[in-house]
């Protein structure tokens, strides 16, 4: 640690050296660390995806053995969900929520520090399983018993990692709720909150409600394996299907945990670049609440094929179809916001428009899969792989890119390279469709998911998909260049950055001071949300 890091008394000065980051309690620094960590994990998980697509490039086994392939699909999911998308969302929340509601910092700054720093620890633990006897977990990220109990030495590490990541997310969620509930600037009523803040409150409640159940379920796996219980062991009177019920009771809200912040981001960006207020703010809020509420009653649509009584299948089919209604409201509201606006198409707007279109494509296949009798065909095929990658990659990840481009100038004080940004968008948007759209065809033609090798009739579309995958992967390097360049320098931006931007974050300087809103701003209807 350098001398200067020891102490610094100047007004509004940041601590320097490594101590600034290790012991940081500053929401902006912690937000930055979350975002950089998630970017790193995005590439770790992406590398695994490249291995998967390389193996599936042609029929036959070329690069890896089936066991390792299963480890790749399992770890790719865990890293992308818990390492890339969730921390990115929390990072944005950390950075933006205090400056959006006019608070000086998060409510619980020391907990904030801890919730970040246990993440790298957790992922070191998880990734270390690659070097263990029996290899990394290969039973799928859904961890269904009895298969997951065949995991080698990695098993307790897998469970422990899930606990750690869960604790981190729960702490982050508690912090966000405590901040929004108690630290809003005068005049910032709930119905004046920017939608990004709204979606995050709801996400945080989902995290608090769903993650402990998941933690309980994996704890039961642990005791089944080592302490002689039989929660999921038919031999001892347990039921392996019960794990699936518990898992998806968490797992379905989890997908909304991933996507709701994305809804919030897009609801910030579309009005800015349409130079028009968000259409149907109130219905947006209610739609988000409705989606979150419904998400606790649809879990069994992930497991229609386990064999439920007719009444159960019908209930979960109808409940799942219902989710299309509030989601549809959101899509229509975004389109109505653009309607008769005065639009420009900078990179954040491009990613947001692509989000609406491609997320809808994922939504359409989602409605198709909610239909139980047809889902018996779609289930566990590449059709579902295509579906959830449309909602999570072109949905959640595209929204995160949009957010990064939207707020990068605010964070750094420099405009990013718009040319490179547009290049990143167009390459991503084209290749992601080459990557995932053919997977619909593969699934319908009968290719199951999670297989390392396939019948030759699936060869053509797999090759197309792989080529799209490699190109999509390479395109993401552009993003790293853009971020790197933007941090290093670039054209100075104004406080407002974007012509149509509204909200408290744009009243601060670019970059904002290390400590902002130490005196709370006064919020009026006019200066509130976009």
């Amino acid at each position: 640690m350098s001398e200067a890091a020891v102490h610094d008394d100047h007004h509004d000065h940041k601590p320097t050296g490594i101590g600034r980051w290790l012991f940081s309690t500053n929401h902006k620094d912690i937000g930055t660390m979350y975002l950089l960590f998630s970017l790193l994990m995005f590439f770790v998980g992406g590398a695994m995806a490249i291995v998967i697509r390389a193996e599936l490039f042609q029929p036959g086994l070329q690069f890896v053995n089936p066991q390792f392939f299963n480890s790749m699909t399992t770890m790719h999911a865990l890293v992308m969900i818990f390492g890339a998308v969730m921390p990115a969302g929390v990072g944005l929340a950390n950075w933006m929520i205090p400056v959006m509601i006019g608070a000086p910092d998060m409510a619980l700054p020391r907990m904030n520090n801890m919730s970040f720093w246990i993440l790298p620890f957790g992922f070191t633990l998880l990734l270390s399983t690659f070097f263990m006897d029996g290899g990394a977990p290969a039973g799928g990220w859904t961890m269904y018993p009895p298969l997951v109990l065949q995991t080698g030495n990695a098993f307790p590490f897998l469970i422990f990692t899930v606990h750690i990541l869960g604790i981190s997310s729960i702490m982050g969620a508690i912090n966000i709720i405590a901040t929004v509930f108690n630290m809003r600037a005068p005049g910032m009523t709930f119905m004046r909150l920017p939608l990004f803040v709204w979606t995050w409150i709801i996400t945080a409640f989902l995290l608090i409600a769903a993650l402990p159940v998941f933690a309980g379920a994996v704890t039961m796996l642990l005791t089944d394996q080592y302490f002689g219980t039989s929660f999921f062991d038919a031999a001892g009177g347990g039921d392996p299907v019960m794990f699936q019920h518990l898992f998806w009771f968490f797992g379905h809200p989890e997908v909304y945990i991933l996507i709701l912040p994305a809804f919030g981001i897009v609801s910030q960006i579309i009005p800015t670049f349409s130079r028009k207020r968000l259409f149907g703010y109130t219905s947006m809020v209610y739609a988000t609440v409705a989606i979150a509420f419904l998400s606790f009653f649809v879990w069994a649509h992930h497991m229609f094929t386990v064999g439920m009584p007719l009444a159960g299948e019908l209930f979960f089919m109808y409940a799942t179809m219902t989710i299309a209604i509030p989601t549809g409201v959101k899509i229509f509201n975004w389109v109505a916001t653009m309607w008769r606006g005065s639009m420009t198409f900078e990179t954040p707007m491009l990613f947001s428009i692509a989000f609406i279109v491609l997320f809808s494509v994922g939504g359409f296949s989602g409605v198709m899969m909610s239909i139980t009798p047809v889902d018996f065909q779609y289930h566990d095929t590449y059709f579902i792989v295509a579906h959830f990658h449309y909602v999570l990659v072109t949905g959640a990840v595209f929204a995160l890119f949009a957010a990064a481009y939207y707020w990068l100038p605010k964070w750094t004080g420099h405009m990013y390279d718009e040319g490179l940004g547009k290049l990143h968008f167009w390459t991503s948007a084209v290749f992601v469709n080459i990557l995932f759209f053919p997977q619909h065809f593969l699934g319908l033609a009968g290719m199951p998911r999670r297989i390392p090798d396939y019948a030759v009739q699936f060869a053509d579309w797999n090759m197309v998909s792989s080529l799209g995958g490699f190109a999509f992967g390479l395109s993401q390097l552009i993003f790293v260049v853009v971020v790197f360049k933007c941090i290093r320098g670039g054209d100075k931006v104004t406080d407002q950055v974007w012509e149509g931007a509204r909200g408290l974050e744009w009243t601060l300087s670019s970059p904002p001071p290390f400590h902002s809103f130490t005196v709370p701003p006064k919020v009026t209807e006019e200066s509130a949300h976009g």
């Binding site: 619980l108 508690i174 630290m183 409600a209 402990p212 039961m220 031999a235 039921d239 299907v241 009584p309």
Partner: protein
């Protein structure tokens, strides 16, 4: 901003976390009750003999009951078969099914039979008054034994169910499992 408010919110949220963690475990008994009520996982009920005798036999109606046997071979070196593959019974009528189990190893082993009924909904109306699956069974080396299930199909069985399968899987008893795998 009041520190006190923040602390209060935080405490409430911690409480919610603990409650939800507990709820996760509470879901286990809730699930089991739910399964008993709806027949979700096809586990069958048990009733007292007296109650079985008072059920009126519905001689108008026949139900086919198939018997299926499985041995969890990853753990248990037994053979297990039903003497008759299927029988036709009247709802309300007390019937017997006989199974033959053999230990094919040279050691004495304890096993547990787990019943399952298909279609799952039928499990609600399939009542056993006597069954080898109620207790663990220990077989001496190479011992062969006949085992009995006495059952009644409830007269309230929905009309659309005409065939049901009673399936048993013999597992190594769990306490023994832990010992052998150590």
């Amino acid at each position: 901003m009041a520190r006190k408010d923040i602390n209060l919110t935080t405490k409430k949220l911690y409480l919610l976390v603990v409650v939800m963690f507990g709820f996760g475990f509470a879901l286990v008994p809730i699930y089991n009750v739910f399964c008993e009520v709806t027949g979700l996982n096809g586990k069958t009920g048990e009733i007292a003999v007296e109650k079985a005798e008072v059920l009126a036999v519905d001689i108008e109606r026949y139900v086919t009951v198939e018997f299926d046997t499985n041995v969890n071979q990853a753990t248990l070196p037994w053979s297990f078969a039903a003497k008759k593959f299927k029988i036709r019974v009247h709802p309300g009528e007390v019937s017997d099914a006989v199974f033959v189990v053999k230990n094919k190893s040279n050691r004495s082993i304890k096993g547990q039979a787990i019943p399952s009924v298909a279609p799952a909904q039928a499990s609600l109306f399939f009542n056993k008054t006597e069954c080898f699956c109620f207790t663990q069974q220990t077989l001496a080396p190479y011992e062969e034994r006949e085992m009995l299930v006495r059952f009644v199909v409830d007269t309230k069985l929905p009309k659309k169910i005409e065939t049901m399968t009673l399936s048993y899987t013999f597992f190594l008893s769990t306490d023994e499992n832990k010992i052998t795998s150590l």
